[in-house]
């Protein structure tokens, strides 16, 4: 398995969410916009200078900060 944090994916990569780290509040917030364990996602954009990431999950785009992305563990599709 290629487990890594979401923040390390490259633009265009696809991956499956394996686990969410962080507190209950954080987990609830990201799950409620569709970032749940088992979901397939695609890295749409990575902004420079530690800027935000944009991922697509279930046909929807979500902007997420790098710090939050580090708490989302994914397995990259090969």
């Amino acid at each position: 398995m290629n487990e890594q944090s979401l923040a390390l994916l490259k633009q265009g990569d696809t991956a499956t969410i394996i686990a969410l780290h962080g507190g209950c509040g954080f987990q609830h917030r990201v799950r409620s916009v569709g970032l749940k364990e088992g979901k397939l996602l695609r890295m749409v954009a990575k902004h420079h200078f530690a800027g935000p990431l944009v991922v697509e999950v279930e046909r929807r785009h979500i902007t997420i900060g790098r710090g939050m992305a580090q708490k989302i563990i994914v397995a990259r599709a090969l």
Partner: protein, 569 residues
């Protein structure tokens, strides 16, 4: 009277659905004790009046912010719940649906964006969904009003679901997964050209190009519509108005009352910009110069919001705003502030931390020119070509960034990361855009115009009593040596405390050089906002932070004015 509550995730077309149900009789209410607004209206349901509330969007009943808390607490007032669900994002929306069913209140589900779901190859078995949820489910397309009649017809069928209760969050998620697997099937679909274009608008390089293009188009539209309203709406009315004003002027004769009401005659005639009377300049500036652009601006902003571009703009600009202690959401107070600083400062409330709210409110009130200020900038410098106008806006932008950098370093507190759900691009509904524009313009006329009018009254009385002249004599030497402005310009700068836009009429007759006018206009825009914005700043930030903001304003105005003088003269 029965109360019906519309509740759903953000960006599911809830507001469009609301405006479909409502007539024009809609009011925005502030939820007591909070800073969150929700919409309220009345409609006739089978001959009986009912009240409809439009709750702020929420993903879940476990609220994570103020707006969501309001949505949840509105539930208590509801007799019937209309849960608006986005058919293209069923899984995500069902979390709220399942939570709502647990509340044991009558629920009906509007499966909105039905056409879009079909277009995307998403098939949802509505019958099966009704069976599982045990409440009516009606497919709707709010934007074309499809299914709305059916929804209204079946409102009475809303009922309390008798499903077994779920224990804990895990069970809720599992249940949502079950339901989706049973009722939804998605045809596989390739990434289309349109999808790629949509991606490009949030990616680094292309995203910035798009942002610049969109903002340029926005201001082009504001100008086009604003000028159109002036040419075909405002000018003819004020031309007709000349007759009664001239008659009044003749009847009053020279004196104190004439000075206050009609003002000074320019070449024996009333000049709407320069006369300064309450009934001439006092009416013309707010209604003839500022309001047309306010209408145009709110229209453009509503289009920007309803097309789904705003969160993308926030994403692309996040990098820059982060350096200023804000995040991409900071673009919203700035954009609103370009219309009127008051809603701009109010919008700072939506930011998460106190530090962010302080920085946003200060930046908006110091560096963002409102429509009245823009009217002044164009009114004073318009004759000298685009060069000077660009110089003013360029200076303001530079100050925005520099002041933001400084405030970020000096203010205490945190700035959290951006976390945004980006809805797909959608064609804005004409109805929703018109209503949104109308409500904001109505707010401006009711809340801000009285201040504009009061400003003229106070300036006129101070002027007629010679107080401004007296003050001007004392400050003049300083203004002369620091800003390089003649003593005659000082009254305009002083009156600017109350009304920036009045300064046009006071500066124009002075025959200043373009460089002097540029300095005067920039300083006027930077230092104290109008009385209304000042009051809001005090209310939002409290005395201590407001004084800090005021200090930042004075220092910035002095520094920038001094530097411009060195550079330009």
């Amino acid at each position: 009277m029965k109360t019906i509550l519309l509740i759903g995730d953000p960006n599911v077309g809830k507001s469009v659905l609301f405006s479909r149900l409502m007539g024009v009789d809609v009011i925005a209410s502030n939820y007591p004790g909070t800073t969150v607004d929700y919409l309220k209206g009345r409609m006739n349901l089978h001959g009986e009046p009912v009240e409809i509330l439009d709750a702020p969007g929420t993903y879940s009943l476990e609220a994570t912010n103020k707006a969501e808390e309001v949505a949840v607490s509105l539930l208590d007032q509801a007799d019937v719940i209309v849960n608006v669900v986005d058919a293209t994002s069923l899984e995500r929306c069902l979390l709220l649906t399942v939570e709502l069913l647990e509340k044991r209140k009558p629920v009906i589900v509007a499966l909105n964006m039905w056409d879009e779901a079909q277009h995307l190859g998403i098939h949802i078995d509505v019958r099966e969904l009704e069976n599982i949820l045990q409440v009516p489910v009606v497919p709707t397309v709010a934007i074309t009003a499809e299914g709305i009649k059916e929804l209204v017809r079946r409102l009475d069928e809303a009922r309390i679901s008798e499903r077994p209760r779920l224990e804990g969050e895990d069970q809720v998620w599992t249940e949502v997964g079950h339901i989706v697997r049973k009722v939804q099937s998605v045809a596989h679909r390739h990434h289309s050209v349109w999808d790629r274009l949509s991606d490009a608008t949030v990616q680094s390089g292309t995203g910035w190009l798009t942002a610049l293009g969109v903002l340029f188009a926005l201001f082009w539209l504001v100008r086009l519509v604003g000028e159109g309203i002036i040419r075909y709406g405002v000018e003819p009315v004020f031309d007709l108005y000349r007759l009664p004003v001239a008659a009044l002027s003749g009847w009053l004769g020279p004196g104190f009352l004439h000075d206050v009401l009609v003002g000074t005659l320019i070449n024996g005639k009333v000049d709407y910009v320069q006369s300064m009377g309450i009934l001439t300049t006092g009416l013309f500036v707010p209604f003839g110069m500022v309001l047309p652009y306010i209408i145009a601006f709110y229209l453009a902003l509503a289009l920007l919001e309803d097309s789904g571009y705003l969160p993308r703009l926030a994403t692309v600009t996040d990098n820059v705003f982060h350096k200023l202690g804000l995040h991409g959401h900071g673009i919203i107070p700035v954009l609103l502030g370009l219309g009127c600083n008051v809603p701009g400062v109010l919008a700072a409330r939506t930011l998460e931390t106190r530090k962010q709210r302080f920085i946003a409110a200060t930046l908006v009130s110091v560096t963002v020119p409102c429509m009245a200020q823009s009217a002044m900038i164009f009114g004073v410098l318009g004759h000298y070509g685009a060069r000077y106008i660009l110089l003013v806006y360029g200076t303001l932008s530079a100050v925005f960034i520099l002041l933001g950098l400084v405030l970020n370093k000096t203010a205490h507190g945190e700035c959290p990361e951006l976390f945004l759900d980006i809805p797909p691009y959608r064609r804005p509904s004409l109805l929703a855009v018109t209503k949104k524009t109308w409500m904001r313009v109505r707010w401006f006329v009711a809340e801000a115009v009285p201040f504009l009018f009061l400003g003229v009254v106070v300036v006129n009385i101070l002027n007629a009593l010679g107080i401004i002249e007296h003050l001007a004599r004392h400050v003049a030497p300083f203004m002369q040596c620091w800003f390089g402005l003649p003593g005659a310009a000082v009254p305009a700068l002083l009156a600017g405390f109350l009304r920036k836009d009045l300064a046009v009429g006071m500066l124009v007759p002075l025959a200043l050089s373009p460089a002097q006018l540029t300095i005067a206009v920039t300083v006027l825009t930077l230092y104290f906002p109008c009385v209304a914005a000042f009051a809001i700043l005090l209310k939002e930030l409290g005395v201590k932070d407001m004084l800090k903001a005021a200090l930042a304003m004075i220092l910035t105005a002095l520094l920038v004015g001094g530097i411009l003088r060195l550079v330009l003269m």
